[in-house]
Symmetry: C2
Subunit: 405 residues, 2 copies
């Protein structure tokens, strides 16, 4: 938690990963982020993984540091409260993050009538409004056919919802950018962020699209070989798989030295009339010749021998470790200052992270947990919408709003 | 291209994916982004994929809409120019994006002495400053062992550098957030964004870490099964693989209906005493019973039959298509308004994307290509550092700077 965005108020009507991570990043930089949900929880409220008591570890991970308001979004009065929240007054408000449909009761047209300078970040599936989620859009971009061992042609989906995550982070950037523009020109804006456009633009930005355009077909599947440079997993004498990578000339020379391959590599360079140090593409083009040298070098040493030699030699490498080992890794979880043990709405206490970066000049504030569903209903109706206690009580009685159970 | 950040000046000293995408997003929102590189190009200047003439399609994809300055960063005078660029005066400047080492000649301490309110976004590998790149850090977080068919235990690396991309987008958000804070408090800040922290925090945000903590081990490898809900690829009668997904109750009922499985699913629900519609976790828990029903339903129909039925029925689905098919897909590339045919520094003309989102209220400005290396050296030295023509000529003669060849 840092205070970079202190004073801002963002309203979030969302589910799943992309829009909630957008709100999470804003909240962890100090914005007041108010998430509203259907009474009983939205479609992501029971999403796996679950704690033994049925609470969603996923939901409480993605909604840290937010406030929660529970509304009956199936009824006109509940919908009107959602609209009023999204468009509540204040220079530091009028910021709305959502993945509700473009043409529903939270359409930009509808909301603009309530607040002309509203900034809305709208996460979508396909840009034309049709249904799409990370995994179906990923399937349309060739990646599952490029992923996995070359001797298997089954498509391999990613496990990490990369398009959702990228959309959430880019969306937070876009929202803050639109706020800077509004401070200059007073204009409201809707920023539509369809996963399909984020994914298509990214495949183009990284050169995949131009490559395929000129080659007539996408790059072949090649297991863990790093495309266009030297990198792959190799197996040590004791059967451990290590990933090694050499893109820069320095990374290459360090790897070759640490594995004692200088002589053999020089001989191969002589035979082929190339210099591997100066052109990472040549290492890739001739990888079928290089791999056997590295395979033998790894096979002759244990992981326990290689790890310190690689570290001492400045090699870019990494061990494959399961997540349970990552949890004991002081660099990732155990002693990572990003993480702090806090109590979560599930009732469980475990270490969770605050803002993903570190600002040495600022004090890192405590990690804040996710709210219980509806925990801030009364507070928000009173403070943001200036409702009286009598009005709030009436809404509870009518079942239009709910507090935490 | 949109003008949200018009007037800002950002200097970028970077390579590879994370820091350059951060600069790309800023540039495509109208900031003036000046990238400096070593004369002849940095370590990413010849990164694959390459055009036939040797130009990098990757480099020209990641550096669109930026200006380029070429300096000899191996010499003190070149390094001093880089420092002066990063810290050049102006309220809308003092924004620096880099992946140079934390303790080198572009350290925050060094730069702060030149401009006290500098905001620096520093992309790192491991948080302790040790070498790490997307693929080696990914290996440390268990994902390669969770990815791929359940009948194969080889680790599967991702092909899309998801941690780099997330770091770039989050970094752009952090930089603009720090600028908002500076406008309020006048303070400079360094935001350190190590891939290792971005990755560890994300694995926690999505519940992977808490799940593993309480289960004692990470979730098993399960091919393309979507964890905790219903989703997988199925094969049609004509051998086409389609991805289908049902997380929400509506997605589930639409899928069951469109495949004519209502009766069989109801019978299974009766047998098991469960309701699949109301709890996506039950669909996952009983997937071994559900899969055969879906397998038979897909195997009885061709892709050409299923596609319109799925679209008409509002099913969340997607076909696996190679990237060459995506290039013909009007939703992704061919008729996508994000893309515009422009000439690139390689000399090639092909369609490339501007900003990844759409703002219906604003006019989309033309997509701007990447610069030629050194194309803006003289302009930037003159306009940003106020150097005289004589001084610039001297730097050229001394080989400290270079223009485009």
């Amino acid at each position: 938690m840092y205070d970079l965005l202190k004073g801002l108020r963002v309203v979030e009507g969302s589910a799943f990963v992309a829009a909630p991570t957008c709100g999470l990043y804003l909240a962890q930089f100090g914005a007041e982020v108010i998430r509203f949900d259907n009474i009983g929880g939205g479609p992501d409220f029971r999403r796996w993984p679950l704690a033994d008591n049925g609470s969603s570890l996923y939901w409480e991970g993605l909604n840290k540091a937010k406030k929660s308001v529970a509304l009956d979004l199936g009824r006109p009065e509940g919908r009107e409260i959602a609209q009023r929240l999204a468009t509540a007054p204040g220079d530091a408000g009028g910021l709305f993050v959502t993945n509700f449909p473009v043409d529903g009761f939270l359409s930009y047209e509808t909301l603009k009538a309530l607040r002309a300078d509203l900034i809305c970040l709208r996460v979508m599936g396909w840009a034309d409004g049709s249904q799409g989620m990370d995994y179906t859009i990923n399937a349309a971009l060739g990646l599952p056919q490029m992923t996995g061992p070359a001797d298997d042609d089954r498509p391999v989906n990613h496990v990490l919802a990369a398009w959702d995550l990228l959309t959430g982070a880019w969306g937070a950037f876009a929202l803050v950018s639109a706020l800077m523009a509004r401070q200059r020109d007073g204009q409201g804006r809707e920023i539509r962020a369809p996963l399909s456009d984020i994914a298509a633009a990214t495949m183009a930005n990284m050169g995949f699209m131009a490559e395929t355009l000129f080659a007539g077909q996408q790059r072949p599947r090649m297991g863990n070989d790093v495309y266009g440079a030297f990198g792959r997993d190799f197996t040590t004498r004791d059967g451990v798989k290590l990933m090694i990578l050499a893109i820069t000339p320095k990374q290459w020379s360090k790897a070759v030295e640490a594995l004692g391959l200088s002589g053999e590599v020089a001989a191969l360079e002589g035979e082929l009339g190339v210099s591997f140090a100066t052109d990472e593409g040549l290492r890739f083009a001739h990888r079928a010749r290089l791999y056997p040298l590295f395979e033998r070098a790894f096979a002759g040493r244990t992981a326990a021998e290689l790890a310190p030699a690689f570290d001492a030699g400045g090699v870019t490498w990494g061990a494959y470790q399961p997540l349970e080992a990552a949890l004991k890794d002081p660099r990732l979880y155990k002693d990572n200052p990003l993480f702090q043990a806090i109590q979560h709405p599930s009732g469980l206490t475990y270490a969770a992270p605050g803002a993903m970066g570190t600002i040495p000049q600022d004090e890192r504030r405590p990690v804040a947990p996710a709210p219980k569903l509806g925990q801030h209903t009364d507070e928000v109706l009173s403070e943001v919408l200036q409702m009286s206690q009598a009005e709030i009580a009436r809404l509870h009685d009518a079942g239009v709003v709910a507090g935490a159970s």
